[in-house]
C-alpha cells in the first residue's frame, strides 16, 4: 500500500513538472531542456529554508516558487529577445550550469552526496510524515497546479500563447507583445517547477544532483510527448505511465549497473517513435 502511495505521490509531483514543460514546449512551442534545473533550484531552496529552520513549509514553498520565477525570467529574457534557436543553447547551458552548481557547491547543496534529513512538511502544526498523509499534500499541490493550468488556458492569456505558437508574426502584427507573453509563460512554468521541487524534496527527505540533471529534463519532455502535448489530460497521463516503466523494467533481468542507461535509452526511443508516428501523443494535440 505504501509502495502504491509513494508511486502516486511521485507521479503527482511529475504531473506538475509535465505541466511546466507542457506550457513551454507544447503551448508556446519553445524547446526547453532546463525544467529539471528549475525543479532542482526549488528543491534545494525549500530544503535549505526548512533545515536551517528559517521559514515554515508554506512560506518556504512560496519563496522557492518566486525564486524559480525570477530565475526563469532572467534566463529566458535575453535569448527569447533574439531567436528561438538561441533559447535551445540557453536551455542546455542552464541545465549543465545548474548540474555543475548542484554537484560542486558543496557547502550549499552537499555536492554529489546530496542533502539528507530534510524535515517533513508541517502546515499549521499538522505534520505530513507518513506516505498516506503526504498523498493529501501532493494531491492538493496537483489540484492547484491543474486548476491554474486549466484557468490560464481558458483565459485570454492562454489564447495569446496558443496564437504565438501558430503564427508569431501575426500576433505581433495584431499589436500584442510576444516577448512579454513568452516570458510570462516561462515565469509560470518556473513557479510550477519550483512548487514541484519543494514538494519532492520534503517527500523524499533527501535530494541529490542526479534527480535534477539533463536526463531528468529529458524524462519530463518524454512525459509530455508520450502523454500528449498541449492538453491537461496528456500531462497527467504521461507521468503516470512513464513512472511505471522502471517498475516494469525490474521484471526483466538486467544488471543494475546499466538499468539507468536502459531507462534513458527507452525514453530516447519513445521520443523518436512518437515524433515519427504520433506527434500528438496519446491524448494531446499536434506538436
Amino acid at each position: 500500500m505504501d509502495f502504491l502511495n509513494s508511486y502516486i505521490v511521485l507521479a503527482e509531483i511529475y504531473v506538475l513538472l509535465a505541466l511546466s514543460t507542457n506550457l513551454l514546449v507544447g503551448i508556446v512551442g519553445i524547446f526547453s531542456v532546463s525544467q529539471a534545473a528549475v525543479f532542482g533550484v526549488g528543491a534545494y531552496i525549500v530544503a535549505a529554508l526548512l533545515m536551517g529552520d528559517i521559514l515554515p513549509f508554506l512560506p518556504a514553498i512560496l519563496v522557492a516558487a518566486l525564486c524559480c520565477v525570477a530565475l526563469n525570467i532572467l534566463v529566458t529574457l535575453p535569448s527569447l529577445r533574439v531567436a528561438g534557436d538561441y533559447f535551445v543553447v540557453t536551455s542546455f547551458g542552464i541545465q549543465l550550469l545548474a548540474t555543475a552548481v548542484f554537484t560542486n557547491w558543496t557547502e550549499g547543496t552537499g555536492g554529489a552526496n546530496g542533502l539528507p534529513g530534510i524535515p517533513p512538511p508541517a502546515i499549521l502544526g499538522f505534520e505530513f510524515d507518513s506516505t498516506g498523509q503526504f498523498l493529501l499534500l501532493s494531491s492538493a499541490a496537483l489540484a492547484a497546479g491543474c486548476l491554474c493550468f486549466w484557468l490560464i488556458m481558458r483565459a485570454p492569456f492562454g489564447r495569446l500563447l496558443r496564437a504565438i505558437r501558430e503564427d508569431e508574426m501575426a500576433v505581433a502584427a495584431a499589436g500584442k507583445n510576444v516577448l512579454r507573453a513568452k516570458v510570462g509563460a516561462a515565469a509560470l512554468a518556473g513557479a510550477l517547477a519550483g512548487l514541484a521541487g519543494g514538494v519532492y524534496g520534503t517527500f523524499l527527505s533527501f535530494i541529490d544532483p542526479s534527480s535534477f540533471d539533463l536526463d531528468a529534463s529529458i524524462l519530463m519532455l518524454t512525459m509530455v510527448v508520450v502523454g500528449g502535448a498541449r492538453t491537461l489530460t496528456g500531462s497527467i497521463l504521461g507521468p503516470f505511465l512513464l513512472l511505471a516503466l522502471p517498475q516494469l523494467l525490474t521484471l526483466v533481468e538486467i544488471p543494475s549497473t546499466i538499468a539507468a542507461a536502459m531507462r534513458q535509452l527507452i525514453y530516447g526511443l519513445l521520443l523518436i517513435a512518437f515524433m515519427l508516428f504520433r506527434p500528438q501523443g496519446l491524448a494531446g494535440e499536434r506538436l
Binding site: V25, G29, F31, V33, P78, S79, R81, V82, A83, G84, D85, Y86, V88, V89, T90, F92, G93, I94, L96, L97, A100, T103, N104, L214, D215, I218, L221, V225, T257, I258, A260, A261, M262, Q264, L265, Y267, G268, L269, L270, L271, I272, M275, L276, P279, L287
Partner: protein, 286 residues
C-alpha cells in the same frame, strides 16, 4: 610559467573544439536543423575507434573506420529521420525533439555497452611529450592541432572552391531557389550531414587519446561549440573556428583564478554577453 602551459592547453582544446564548431555550423547553416544528436556522433566516433584498437586494429585504420561509421550514422539520421519528418511538414520543434531522442539513444547504448566510466586508450604514443620553449606538449596534442588546422583549411577550400561546396552554399542561402534550379536540397542535406559527421569524428577520436572517453561528455563539447558558432556568426567557418579557440583559451586561463568545475559558467557567461551585445556574432555576413 603556468599561464603559458594553460595557454597551450587552451589552443589545443580550442582547435579540436573549432572542428566541432565548424561541422555543426555546416549542418545548421545549411539544413537549419539544430542537430543535437551531433554530440552523440562525436562521442560514438571515439568509442568505435577504441573498440577497434582493443581488437588489434592499427590506430590509423581504426580512425578511418570510425570516420566511416560516423558518416554512415549521420547520413542515416538525415535520411531516415529528419527527411521523413520534413516530408510530413513537421515543425522545427518536432525535429529538435527527435534529434534529442537520437542523442539519448546513442549515449545510452554506449553507456550500456561500455559502462558510464571513463575509458583510456591503451596506445603508448599519445602520452609521449616533447618540450616546446618550456611548454610540455604531448604527441596527441600536437596531432590534434595539425589535424584541426588542416581540416579548417580543407573545409574552407571545399566550401569556396569546389562545385559541391558551392552547391551546398547555394542551398544554404536559398533552399527554394535551389529546389527549382534542380540542386536537389534533400540530397545536399544528406551529403552535408555525412561530411560534418566525418569531420566531427576527427576530434571525437583524437581528443579521447589525451583525455579518455566518457559516454555523456559530448553534450558539453557540442554546447561550447554551438556557442562558438553563434559568437562567430552563423555560417562563417572562420568565425566558428576562431571563436572556439578564443573560448577554449579563456576557459583554460580562467583556471588561474577558479577551479575547473566552473568552466561551463565561463562559457555560458561569454554566450550571455554575446546575446546581449552582439547576437549576430563577430563574423556574420551581411
Amino acid at each position: 610559467m603556468i599561464w603559458l602551459q594553460l595557454l597551450a592547453q587552451g589552443l589545443v582544446t580550442g582547435c579540436a573544439l573549432g572542428v566541432v564548431a565548424i561541422s555543426f555550423s555546416l549542418i545548421y547553416a545549411t539544413t537549419r536543423i539544430f542537430h543535437v544528436a551531433h554530440a552523440g556522433v562525436y562521442t560514438m566516433g571515439g568509442y568505435v575507434a577504441w573498440s577497434l584498437i582493443q581488437h588489434g586494429v592499427p590506430d590509423p585504420l581504426a580512425l578511418i573506420l570510425a570516420i566511416a561509421a560516423c558518416t554512415a550514422v549521420g547520413a542515416l539520421i538525415q535520411h531516415q529521420l529528419y527527411h521523413r519528418l520534413e516530408r510530413r511538414r513537421a515543425t522545427q520543434l518536432v525535429i529538435l525533439i527527435a534529434s534529442l531522442g537520437v542523442l539519448a539513444v546513442i549515449q545510452n547504448i554506449i553507456a550500456a555497452v561500455y559502462t558510464p566510466n571513463i575509458l583510456q586508450f591503451a596506445s603508448a604514443w599519445g602520452g609521449r611529450t616533447l618540450s616546446l620553449g618550456g611548454v610540455l606538449v604531448s604527441y596527441a596534442q600536437l596531432l590534434i592541432v595539425l589535424v584541426s588546422l588542416a581540416t579548417y583549411g580543407g573545409l574552407l577550400f571545399f566550401a569556396h572552391r569546389t562545385l559541391l561546396g558551392k552547391r551546398i552554399r547555394a542551398v544554404a542561402s536559398n533552399p527554394f531557389l535551389a529546389e527549382i534550379t534542380r540542386l536537389q536540397p534533400q540530397d545536399v542535406y544528406v551529403i552535408v550531414i555525412a561530411i560534418a559527421s566525418a569531420v566531427v569524428c576527427l576530434p571525437g577520436v583524437l581528443v579521447p587519446f589525451e583525455l579518455g572517453l566518457q559516454p555523456y561528455g559530448g553534450v558539453t563539447v557540442l554546447l561550447t561549440a554551438t556557442i562558438a558558432m553563434i559568437a562567430g556568426g552563423v555560417g562563417s567557418i572562420t568565425g566558428a573556428f576562431v571563436l572556439a579557440v578564443a573560448i577554449a583559451v579563456l576557459q583554460n586561463l580562467s583556471l588561474l583564478v577558479m577551479p575547473g568545475e566552473w568552466s561551463i559558467g565561463v562559457t555560458f557567461f561569454i554566450f550571455v554577453i554575446f546575446m546581449l551585445f552582439r547576437p549576430r556574432g563577430l563574423f556574420a555576413a551581411g
